[in-house]
Amino acid sequence: MQPFAYVRPATLSEALTLLDEHGPDASLLAGGTDLVVALRNRTLRPKVVIDLKRVAELRPSISDEEGWTTINATSVLTDISEDQRIRARYPALVDAAVTVGSAQIRNRATLTGNICHASPAADTAPALLVYGAIANVASVRGTSRVNLAEFFVGPRQTVLQPGELVTSIALPADATPRGATFVRITRRRGVDLATISLCCMVEATGRTQFAFGAVGPRPFLVADESGLLADLDVGDAAKDEVLRRLLTQASPISDVRGSREYREAMLLVMSRRALRLSIARLAAA
């Protein structure tokens, strides 16, 4: 690891000022489970590391605000997956969060970090996408909210501009009845990076959404508004046709985790399974 300065701002404005001053020379530190690896591998060589864990406004918290469930930037995955509100409202997010690394990783890794790292295979991204999450963004110039569907640009790239950071992730708290399922394919049963991952949500209105990970440069969201996928009376062949259409946006590549062909095939297999499970969960809801 190369030498760097370590700063620990106490307030958000301090943090934003530091980020503004140091620009591309600064790296933000929340849980550190991705950052420290990058520092050690020297793929990142910041001059300044800004630790956000002591920023008063960013302290771990999960709160209800004006119809949104807001998860602060330094909330770790263990706390998120154990929170009763999150478990009741966003079970598929919990299913995704508990697949991220090991207990040790989840005790440090933050949801916001998982999103800002912008790995195409980020496990929490598909669930956040189907639940309609937004990112609250701040900079010295002010605040904004970005729909997560517009947040990811490419591998390790987001819409965040220099000087901006995500202060929290918020999910709509009120929702029509729905059933959602997160599934993925991995090389082993223990801790692993996804070969593909996806989240399916079926709403009582018949609207069905899918979000996919590890099958393109960025996680992405697609929807079937026809109601056909959610319809119990529609046969598998007709549903497959819709699923295949939704999957045309996927552009998986071959890498050490799997071939393009396997990923393409698994997208359909796992989409079918997730759809069936989501319909069952909607019925049970």
Partner: protein, 153 residues
């Protein structure tokens, strides 16, 4: 940067460079070499310690992040030379082979039992899945955690 940490109950006030991991700080500066270095990625769990009661991979934390925290390492479990029930169960169940992963396994098991004093086998397998053992002693390691959970029941 100067940090103040409590390690295995002892308060320490030390100067540490920001580019030092907690693992290096423990091993090189405090000479607590029980925590082991293997993958340096958070994949193997050999460096597992407790920070403020939570298990973490100490290779993925900067030492400066531990400022004002309480750290427990494998060296902090036995009291007055007496093994704690989990350490003892590891020996009784034959969970120790080469021993290199064992400090991390014990710390992961310790954390699991703190959170869930009477886990099922499936919960133990889940809770220890971030700790690799190449000797393959998983069956005995899981048995040891279950046996320790029965101590004092």
């Amino acid at each position: 940067m100067r940090i103040h940490v409590t390690v295995n109950g002892a308060e320490r006030d030390l100067e540490v460079a920001p580019n030092t991991t907690l693992l290096d700080f423990l091993r090189d500066d405090l000479r607590l070499t029980g925590s082991k270095e293997c993958c340096d990625l958070g994949e193997c769990g050999a460096c597992t310690v407790l920070v403020d009661g939570r298990s973490v991979n100490s290779c993925l934390m900067l030492a400066v992040e531990a400022d004002a925290s309480e750290v427990t390492t494998i060296e902090g479990l036995a009291k007055d030379g007496r093994l704690n029930p989990l350490q003892d169960a590891f020996l009784a169940k034959g969970a120790v082979q080469c021993g290199f992963c064992i400090p991390g396994q014990v710390m992961a098991g310790q954390y699991l039992l703190q959170r869930n004093p009477h886990p099922t086998l499936a919960e133990v397998r889940e809770g220890l899945s971030g700790n690799l053992c190449r000797c393959g002693g998983y069956v005995q390691i899981c048995e040891a955690v279950l046996a320790a959970s029965e101590v004092g029941r």
